[in-house]
Symmetry: C2
Subunit: 111 residues, 2 copies
DNA sequence: ACAATACTGAAGTAACTACTTCACTATTGG
DNA sequence: CCAATAGTGAAGTAGTTACTTCAGTATTGT
């Protein structure tokens, strides 16, 4: 269920923005609050919350509110899904090149 | 030089569209012309060319024109760069979880 | 030579994105 | 209790994206 096209759209779209990637990068080093995520970014807190909503909708980040603090953390399964899609296509291409190489080697032997 | 933020923006943005992903998927099975890429897609040839330009600008696809036919193929290094970015963040997170697990195990022993 | 093929490019448009500001609501520390 | 903190939500706006159509240019098969 993580492989449907719409979910991949959301995940790659989420990763396409440098502010959101920097948030993911920060979260890869451990959970953080919204303010902590916002701190290094040159934009309003509101903008950060909007980016966070995009990340959450994509499934890449999960958040949990305790008191007045929203704690954000990475969802590694979603990262894995995006990684997997790319990996499959790259491997398909590279296997193809290998077979082509084998074929060329064989036909060379036949001369 | 494949790791600069702007290039990652372009690559993830390129992968965020289902039509473009279907083009990449087709190309992962071997090179194709613009018309061949367009064939399964419910949109004008012009639209396909525009998607193709996005893919080419991202570095994910390389094209070469011979006569009136533009042949498109995948650039696996670019796919690898996108894959690598995701992988690094996921691993950072998972290593963190492992260390946390070790720490919890150790402190449990100390009771 | 001429028709068909394979794109290419420009202009238009509707929807979406990445912000902004401002006003607001909880929660918490003193 | 009340001021500071942490975040939420709505509205507005400039810029971008994903198409469309239509008109044009090479290239190639007959």
């Amino acid at each position: 269920m993580l492989h449907d096209p719409a979910q991949l759209d959301l995940m790659f779209q989420a990763l396409a923005d440098p502010a959101r990637r920097s948030m993911v990068e920060r979260l890869s080093r451990g959970p953080a609050s919204v303010s902590q995520l916002a701190e290094p970014l040159a934009m309003s807190l509101s903008a950060v919350v909007q980016h966070l909503n995009v990340l959450e909708a994509s499934g890449l980040v999960r958040t949990e509110k305790l008191g007045r603090v929203r704690t954000c953390r990475i969802e590694p399964q979603a990262l894995r899904a995006a990684e997997h899609w790319i990996n499959e296509r790259r491997l398909a291409w590279e296997r193809r090149l290998d077979r082509l190489g084998d074929f060329l080697d064989e036909t060379k032997d036949e001369t």
